[in-house]
Amino acid sequence: MKIGNNSLKFNGVYIKDSSTAVGPLESAGPLKDYFDYRFPDLYCNADSWEKAEINLVKTCIDDLIKKTNLSDTEIDFIVGGDLNNQDAVTNYAVRDYNIPLLGVYSACATSAEAMIVASSLVDSANAKNIIVTSSSHNATAERQYRNPTEYGGARPDSATFTVTGAGTCLITNQKSDIKIESATIGRVLDAKQKDANDMGSAMAPAASQTIKVHLEDLGRSAEYYDLILTGDLSSVGKPILIDILKEQEIDIEHNHNDCGLLIYDRKKQNVFAGGSGAGCSSAVTFGYIMSMLRENKLKKVLLVATGALMNPIMIFQKESIPAIAHAVSLEKI
């Protein structure tokens, strides 16, 4: 049901289970124990970067199907996307399953967009079980958005490091201990940032807008949530977000964190301003956050997945980088 300007309130939408798979650097990071599969190298048992990312997604989906004990016919749809052109990885990853696909794209906010689409379908009784997936791979993102992986040009400290990882979950109408309670669909916001090596600055305003709209639509204050978790604002975007919201009298200083800052140890790992990518928010949410909710260490979490809608062609045409943020509220029952 629509609530307020841009939000949806769900009734009876739950996460049954989840699965995550990550690459080598994430497997060495502080959240390593929360991921289901850890690949020791970037190739993930494949012979190209794209096939490696496909393997990450398939590993998660296979594991999720096994965990939830559902057959292909019991799963209504797969909703998901990735950062590759034409959503290539998701399309190829699901070709071996006998399940219909809805491909979605919101850059690194794809994870939350897929959850919102799936939750709406379940909420409206158009589906009972939906697999949600999103992924990214450091090398596929590098070659598509930036330079060849071995190129030696120096990158500035504001750059982010694309996470190699995939996250899936099963959204269902059957009651479980984790509820998808509400969501807010983000508006595209262009803060006139042009630096493709500084996505945090481009995305923080969009995140602030979505958080503000979400709280207004649902009539809540920021303290309602134990954790407001942005996707990949990095060390540059985090203080910008906090400051923008402070100016609008919303204080999230004590309950805000960022998936990109959680997944790596920036002191020991050379990841510039932090992690990014559609796999960053999904691996952290479906791995770490799910565990925290299950263990009652968190009760109410607002995931605000952030996406810099960066297109290399538009950047070459001197355009700025629009951004989007979608919010999903998760509650432990």
């Binding site: 190129y151 120096a154 803060a191 006139k192 940032q193 910008i240």
Partner: protein, 142 residues
């Protein structure tokens, strides 16, 4: 809402001086290695012109090998422009492209993308040489 003001307040400023110093020292070291190689080749009895070509080829080979072993990008991150401006940067950009597009095949992958980064250097190198050549011809008669 004035986002730009808040963004500017938190944006990281490039460390121009430190980066410049690193570039200067590292770029200088590449030049010293080149000079030492040149003198070594001359000492070995190779003519000055041939020794120059041989020196450049050696530096390109080393840069390409370092790229292939996955070391060059880490060195480049430290040395900034110091490794990008010398011929090593050019070699790296071509080797990195060749490696990156190997999977798409010899023709459509490697051959099509080899000059993806280096192409601009070649195009403007040839164009500026052409223009300067004309100017030289007009004013100095060749």
């Amino acid at each position: 809402m004035n986002y730009e003001e808040i963004i500017k307040k938190h944006q990281l400023k490039p460390k121009y001086f430190a980066n410049g110093l690193k570039s200067f020292v590292c770029g200088g070291m590449v030049a010293i290695v080149g000079q030492l190689l040149l003198e070594l080749y001359i000492k070995l009895g190779i003519g000055e012109d041939e020794a120059g070509s041989l020196m450049i080829t050696t530096v390109i080979l080393v840069a390409s090998l370092l790229t292939a072993f996955g070391v060059y990008d880490k060195l480049g991150q430290f040395a900034k422009a110091g490794l990008a401006v010398p011929v090593t940067g050019f070699a790296n950009s071509m080797t990195a492209s060749a490696l990156e597009y190997k999977k798409e095949g010899m023709l459509l992958g490697i051959a099509n993308n080899l000059f993806k980064l280096a192409g601009a250097v070649i195009v403007y190198g040839v164009v500026s040489a052409y223009i300067l050549g004309i100017i030289r011809y007009l004013f100095m008669g060749g």
